[in-house]
Assembly symmetry: C2
Homo-oligomer: 155 residues x 2
DNA sequence: GCATTCTTGACTTTTCCAGTAGAGATTGTT
DNA sequence: AACAATCTCTACTGGAAAAGTCAAGAATGC
């Protein structure tokens, strides 16, 4: 049930872009994102390039180049990102809406496991679709303002 | 965010055992489970053996041998199964209760992504812990009794 | 004794993940 | 025009994990 490192990096990189987002066309360098988030630069290049082909970010080359969000942070949610980088949000293919895959069970239409997995999928999707980069940036801002100790924050 | 095939097989196998469960010590052969669920027999052997070491099932050798649940179906939930076969239910290690792992982000205690992932984890866990093999068996029974067409059942 | 079934551990094969590398294209600066 | 910084694209690699497969053995019931 894990998110890949790649997917996590994508979200973290986009959070940086969301926090630095401005209506003009200012960009952030890969180098900077890489440093701020401890992400291997070369690997991050790949990921951002991938997000570009998904029209999530756009880039500017050359000396003053870098990346920026292609849409406003309110208009990008986690579901979009994860689906593009990782594929299905659903725990099994047979309950995925966007990446449906037939499963090997004897009768999919009467599968009890499937009904539970569908519930799980819905729960995951509803969170991931509700949370936008704008909300994430806002949460980040709050967490920095009113720091809570590591102990208060249950793991 | 996917469950492995191995994890899915485990649940499907256990569902068979739950449906055939009786208080006496009747067992079900691997062969039968394998056929009823389209699971490669050799692979299933491994999985059941693994579940045996987790004290989820017990076995009987020889001619009238096979597997049975070691506890009543009401006492086995999906979270236990998946955690044993797959590991963490959480999408990222840093929000896992049972399999916590430090992440590479700059400040875990003030990570906005982490707070979303924790919500996701909680949603997943609450479903997986609530659903027992008994409930799964009951759902299966109902689905067979009142068959709904594949079209009514949204994918 | 023999067929049936689980037991155990090793082995294979394939796929994916995470990361690295290099050559090239684009841009701004001087 | 030269150059330095930056993104672009394709390819490669090493390791791990997933999904099976296999073979020899041990228990059991008839």
């Amino acid at each position: 049930m894990k998110l890949s490192v790649r997917g996590e990096y994508a979200i973290r990189a986009l959070l940086v872009l969301a926090r630095d987002y401005q209506e003009d066309d200012s960009v952030v360098r890969i180098q900077e994102i890489s440093e701020r988030q401890n992400i291997p630069k070369r690997f991050l290049e790949q990921i951002l390039n991938d997000l570009k082909s998904a029209h999530v970010v756009e880039s500017k080359r050359g000396v003053a180049g870098g990346y920026r969000l292609r849409r406003r942070p309110e208009q990008i949610n986690l579901a979009q990102i994860v689906r593009h980088i990782e594929g299905p949000l659903a725990p099994v293919g047979c309950v995925s809406e966007k990446f449906y895959e037939k499963c090997s069970c004897p009768d999919e239409s009467r599968c009890a496991i499937r009904s539970v997995m569908k519930e799980t999928r819905d729960a995951i999707v509803s969170i991931m679709e509700r949370v936008t980069l704008a909300e994430l940036a806002e949460r980040a801002r709050k967490l920095e303002q009113e720091p809570m100790s590591a102990l208060d924050f249950n793991i």
